[in-house]
C-alpha cells in the first residue's frame, strides 16, 4: 500500500495561501497524489513530508517563529533526516533564511537555516516604492518545458521589497535558474533564482503570478527525491 507523501508550505506568516493554490493546480494537472499541508508545528516535519516551501512574508517574523519550541533545530534535523533529503524551496524571506550569508539583518541578528552557498542582502531592491515587475530569463530547458501550458523562455518576476543575491560561492554546485537584466547596481544579468542540491530559492514571487512553472519544477523535484531506491 503506497503511502501518500506530503508537500508542505510553512504557514507561519506571509503569502502561503497562494503557494498552496499553485501547488494544488500543479499536483492536479500533473496527476500526482501528494497531500498539501500548512505547516505550523514541528510535529508535521516527519518522514511523510517530502517537500517544503518557505514563503515570502517578513523574515523577522519567521525569525520569532523559528525560536519557538526549537522549531528551527527540528527543521534543520528534518532537512537531513532522509537520503535523498527532502526538497526545500524558499521564496523572498525563504531565500534569506536559506542563505549562508545575509546582509542587513535586523539589529541583533536573525536565526538562519543556511545551506545555500550565496550571500543575500535583505530588502536589497528597496522599500515598497522600488518594488517592481519585470520579465526574467529562464536559464534551463527543464524549467521552460516542465509544464504543459507554458513554454516561454521568460518568467514574470514580481519583486516586493525583495532581497538580492549579491554573490554565489563558486565550486559549490549552485545552479542559476533565472536572471534579471538591466537592474542598476547589480551585475547584468543577475541571478534571482538558484538551486543547490535539494534546495531552491528565488527572490521574487512566482506564487503571485499565473505562471506555474517554478511550482511544477519544485513538485517534480520533490517527486524525484521521493522515489524509492533513489540515491
Amino acid at each position: 500500500m503506497l503511502n501518500i507523501m506530503n508537500i508542505g508550505v510553512l504557514a507561519c506568516q506571509g503569502a502561503f495561501a497562494e503557494h498552496l493554490v499553485a501547488l494544488k493546480h500543479v499536483v492536479q494537472d500533473l496527476e500526482l497524489s501528494f497531500h498539501l499541508v500548512e505547516v505550523r508545528d514541528s510535529s508535521q516535519l516527519d518522514s511523510d513530508l517530502r517537500g517544503l516551501i518557505i514563503p515570502g512574508g517578513e523574515s523577522t517574523t519567521l525569525n520569532i517563529f523559528f525560536g519557538q519550541e526549537a522549531f528551527l533545530s527540528k527543521l534543520k534535523q528534518w532537512m537531513c533526516s532522509t537520503n535523498p533529503p527532502p526538497v526545500v524551496w524558499g521564496t523572498c524571506a525563504g531565500l534569506i533564511v536559506l542563505s549562508d550569508q545575509v546582509e542587513h539583518e535586523k539589529t541583533g541578528g536573525q536565526l538562519e537555516i543556511g545551506g545555500l552557498a550565496v550571500t543575500t542582502s535583505r530588502n536589497f531592491f528597496g522599500r515598497q516604492n522600488k518594488s517592481f515587475e519585470q520579465k526574467l530569463d529562464l536559464l534551463t530547458e527543464d524549467l521552460v518545458e516542465c509544464y504543459p501550458y507554458d513554454k516561454s523562455p521568460n518568467f514574470p518576476g514580481i519583486f516586493i521589497r525583495a532581497p538580492g543575491i549579491q554573490a554565489i560561492k563558486p565550486s559549490q554546485n549552485v545552479r542559476v535558474l533565472a536572471e534579471l537584466r538591466g537592474y542598476p547596481g547589480l551585475p547584468n544579468p543577475s541571478a534571482v533564482a538558484v538551486e543547490q542540491g535539494s534546495l531552491m530559492a528565488c527572490s521574487f514571487h512566482p506564487e503571485l503570478s499565473k505562471d506555474l512553472r517554478f511550482h511544477a519544477y519544485f513538485v517534480r523535484k520533490v517527486l524525484k527525491s521521493s522515489l524509492p531506491g533513489k540515491l
Binding site: 503569502a15 497562494e18 512574508g57 520569532i64 535583505r122 515598497q128 518594488s131 516586493i160 538591466g182 537592474y183
Partner: protein, 310 residues
Amino acid sequence: MGPVSGTEMSTDKDGHRIEGSFVVKSGLAQMSKGGLIMDVVNAEQAKIAEEAGACAVMALERVPADIRRDGGVSRMSDPKLIKEIMAAVTIPVFAKVRIGHFAEAQILEALGVDMIDESEVLTPADDEHHVDKRAFKVPFVCGARNLGEALRRIAEGAAMIRTKGEAGTGNVVNAVHHARTINREIRLAQSMDDSELFSYAKQIQVPVDLLREAAKIGRLPVVNFAAGGLATPADVSLLMQLGVDGVFVGSGIFKSNCPKKRAHAMVQSVTHYKNKEKLAELSEDLGEPMVGINCDQLAEKWEGRESEMK
C-alpha cells in the same frame, strides 16, 4: 481560501521594469497576510514591535485611544517622527493620512513609506471625496464597515482593506460586526444570479464588475485585515476565524501593562489562530489588557466617517 490574485503581469512590451502597478501594490498586502501590524508612536516602540514579530508598523503620533481622549483635530504625523521610525526598523512602515487629504498622501509617498492608511481615525479633510488612490505609486489601505464601503475604496484604488471597528476602545464588537457584515453580504451576492447583481450593486452603491468579482471569488478582491479594538490573543483568533487575512493592533498593545509580552502573544496568535491549546498558553499571564471603552458610551463613533456627495 483561494488566492487573492494570480495575476497577469503588467510589463510593457519591451520587458522593462514596471513600478507601482496594482500587482506590485497589492503584493505588499499579500506578504503581510497572517501577520500583525502594530501602531507605534516612536522608534523605541517600533523596535519592540519588530522584536515581537510584527510584520509591519503603523507610525503615528498618538494611538487612537489618546486621539479620542485628547479630542481636537488629528492629522498626518510629523515627517521627523516617521523618518525616525523608518530608520529604526527593517520591516515595512505604514502611516496615516486624513480622509481625502491627497497632499498628506503625496508627502508620505515622498518620504517613502511602504503603505498609506487613509484613516477615519484622523479628522477627515474632505467631506465629499476620498483620495484617488490610483494616482499614487504607494499602496493604500482603507477602512470599511460593509461590502459596499470596501468595494468603493477598492474602486478608488485601495490595495488593501481593513475593518474599521471602533479604534481606540479596546472593544472588538465593532470589528466583529464589520467582518461579519462583509462576509454576509458576499454570501448574499453569491446567492444571486447575474441579472440580480445589477440591482444589488446599485443598492450597495458599488460598480457591478467589482461586485461580480467578489461574488465569483467568495471574498474581497484584495487582502482584508481586522482592525479596531483588538486587545487579546482570543480577539485575534476570533477575527482570523471570521476569515480576515491578518490584524492591525493599535492601542491594545501599548496601552496594556505588559506591551512586549502581549505583542509577542498576539503575533503568535495570528499564526496559531486555529490551535486552542496554543491560544490558551498564549493568553496566560499577560498582565492587564487595556481597560477600554464600551462602544455605546462613546461620544463620537469614527466608523461612520465616509466622505460622499450629499
